[in-house]
């Protein structure tokens, strides 16, 4: 039975004994989309992923992946999911190929699956022992391991971590192709550019709470505007509107982010009598910061 939502979490969370963790996440990830899961280190990205994968048991709520219960049907979920841990570790004494072969044997796969094709694209060194590989090359092997059985859903925790820019670009291209093949990708990252480049929707987690889920285009449009304004009057004399934050000042030009009603911004602009003006959707970074940096706003 086909499910429109590949991931469905309802008040889903895992709290550690110290009270930290992930609290009551409600989230749906649609079939065939790339979902970016953003948050700084320690926000709870990895905890949520590990709970979805069954490494941790949910302390609240319930979750379904590919229509299967996260706790009860975890074995079946793992058959159909490709998982890349945040810090992938494999058996050091085996080669990359040895590690992948072991995983494929456990998965009951006889042939090499997509190993050759993906390894060539990623330029992964399969025949050296893992202990002698660099972090980037280990990451490539771990990525291959997650993708080689052609899973319906990829759950990737920081997929481009440790990779050089070219390899990062290749990974992003592969993920977009996977999406085109009807696969779903759930990827965590703290790299805003990366998520902006590939994801359809994004979820932002802060202190274990999912604070926003939206399409990237909506999220950027939703509240924050990037305003560059050139003024005749000295910048110091300008009274900024509420919800604005100065990003940069150079000579008579002021660059600020604005969060709030557009009408209020227009009113303020009319009083400033600007010489030149640019209002644009902000880079995702600015949207991201608006969720984390509220107290800095003027």
């Amino acid at each position: 039975m086909a499910h429109a939502n590949v991931i469905e979490l309802h008040r889903f969370g895992h709290l550690y004994r110290n009270g930290r963790g992930v609290r009551e996440v409600d989230l749906e990830v649609r079939k065939g989309e790339i979902f970016g899961f953003l948050g700084p280190n320690g926000a709870g990205k990895t905890t949520l992923i590990r709970t979805m994968m069954g490494f941790l048991r949910p302390t609240t709520g319930s979750g379904k992946i590919l229509g299967l219960d996260v706790v009860k049907d975890n074995l079946d979920i793992r058959k159909r999911v490709g998982y890349l841990p945040g810090e992938p570790v494999m058996y050091d004494w085996l080669t990359g190929r040895g590690n992948i072969s072991l995983a494929m044997e456990v998965r009951g796969l006889k042939n090499g699956g997509r190993l050759r094709e993906l390894a060539e694209r990623l330029e992964a060194d399969l025949d050296r022992k893992v202990k002698s590989l660099s972090k980037g090359n280990r990451q490539k092997i771990a990525l291959l391991n997650a993708m080689v059985h052609d899973p319906e859903l990829l759950i990737l925790d920081e997929p481009t971590s440790g990779l050089d820019p070219l390899a990062q670009e290749t990974v992003r291209a592969i993920l977009v192709e996977e999406k085109a093949r009807g696969k779903t990708v759930f990827m965590s990252s703290h790299d805003l550019y990366e998520v902006e480049a590939v994801a359809d929707r994004v979820g932002i987690i802060r202190d274990g709470v999912l604070v926003a889920v939206d399409e990237i285009s909506n999220l950027k449009k939703q509240r924050v505007k990037y305003v560059s304004i050139e003024l005749r009057t000295p910048i110091e004399e300008i009274q900024l509107p509420p919800g604005s934050r100065v990003l940069r000042k150079d000579r008579a030009k002021l660059h600020l982010s604005y969060t709030g009603e557009v009408a209020v911004l227009l009113d303020w602009l009319s009083t400033c009598k600007p010489v030149d003006l640019t209002v644009a959707d902000p880079p995702l970074e600015e949207v991201f910061r608006s969720f984390y940096d509220q107290e800095v706003r003027s």
Binding site: F55, L56, L75, P85, V106
Partner: protein, 265 residues
């Protein structure tokens, strides 16, 4: 089977090193049988009259045994009775604690395999490793004695090795269960080894104090009686059942707790 094969492959170097070291030591001891036995016999026998019965038996000085059997028991049965449990402890600590500590647990647990299958395959692998060490130890005793043209209770030595093996499996299984609560490998190994060595000396102390078997019942080392094995070519049924029960109960706990274990980063 795939997981078992992977486990055996992973431990092959360790097994080889332990087996060679163990065999070399036992071969040297067995091949030195006459020389050492004649030199130390008088001293040992003189002291043994004041020793408690339990200690006499442990050191191979129990009455009714031939000099060769006494020697083999004293030098291998007693002194090396710690090596197999120590090896079992190291193997047990490698099953969960090392995999969680190093992060390879993530690799395994992301695969479509049940945690109980991982645990059972590791336990079977541990038993096979210990069996290989026990059998080669017996072979080394026989070879060492035969090389010197001596003969002893070879069948009894075989049972001594079986007793060794069952003791090591019980201790390995207990440590396997305990290791599910320990995520740090280096401190885990230290703790588990300290417990094993502690249990060994507690049992030795109880034997010296001549405490009855019932008082020592819960210590696995109390169910190791090389003198009985050599003299009778077997093991007391109670000891066999107790060691098997300890192993099975510990394995059940290990499987259940590993199934519930939260694998944190």
């Amino acid at each position: 089977m795939i997981l078992l094969a992977q486990y055996l492959k992973a431990n092959r170097i360790g097994l080889l090193v332990w087996t060679l070291a163990h065999m070399t030591l036992i071969l040297m001891v067995a091949a030195s049988a006459t020389a050492i036995e004649t030199q130390t016999d008088y001293l040992f026998r003189a002291f043994s009259e004041w020793m408690p019965r339990g200690l006499q038996s442990f050191l191979g000085l129990a009455p009714g045994m031939s000099k060769i059997d006494s020697y083999i028991q004293a030098k291998t049965g007693a002194l090396l009775s710690l090596t197999l449990p120590i090896y079992a402890t190291l193997l047990a600590a490698g099953v969960v604690t090392r995999e969680v500590d190093s992060g390879t647990a993530d690799f395994l647990l992301a695969l479509p395999t049940r945690r109980r299958d991982i645990m059972l395959s590791r336990w079977v692998g541990m038993c096979l490793n210990l069996a290989a060490l026990a059998v080669t130890s017996w072979g080394a005793v026989v070879l060492g004695l035969k090389a010197k043209g001596l003969t002893g209770s070879f069948y009894g030595y075989f049972w001594m090795c079986i007793n060794w093996f069952l003791l090591a499996v019980a201790i390995g299984s207990i440590n396997l269960a305990a290791s599910v609560w320990i995520d740090d490998y280096s401190s885990g190994v230290r703790i588990l080894l300290a417990v094993v060595v502690g249990l060994f000396f507690v049992d030795l102390g109880m034997r010296i104090a001549d405490l009855p078997y019932a008082a020592r019942f819960f210590n696995p080392f109390s169910h190791y009686d090389p003198a009985y094995a050599i003299k009778n070519g077997g093991m007391p049924a109670g000891s066999v059942l107790t060691l098997l029960f300890m192993s099975a109960a510990s394995l059940i706990v290990a499987v259940k707790k590993f199934d519930e274990k939260q694998i944190e980063t």
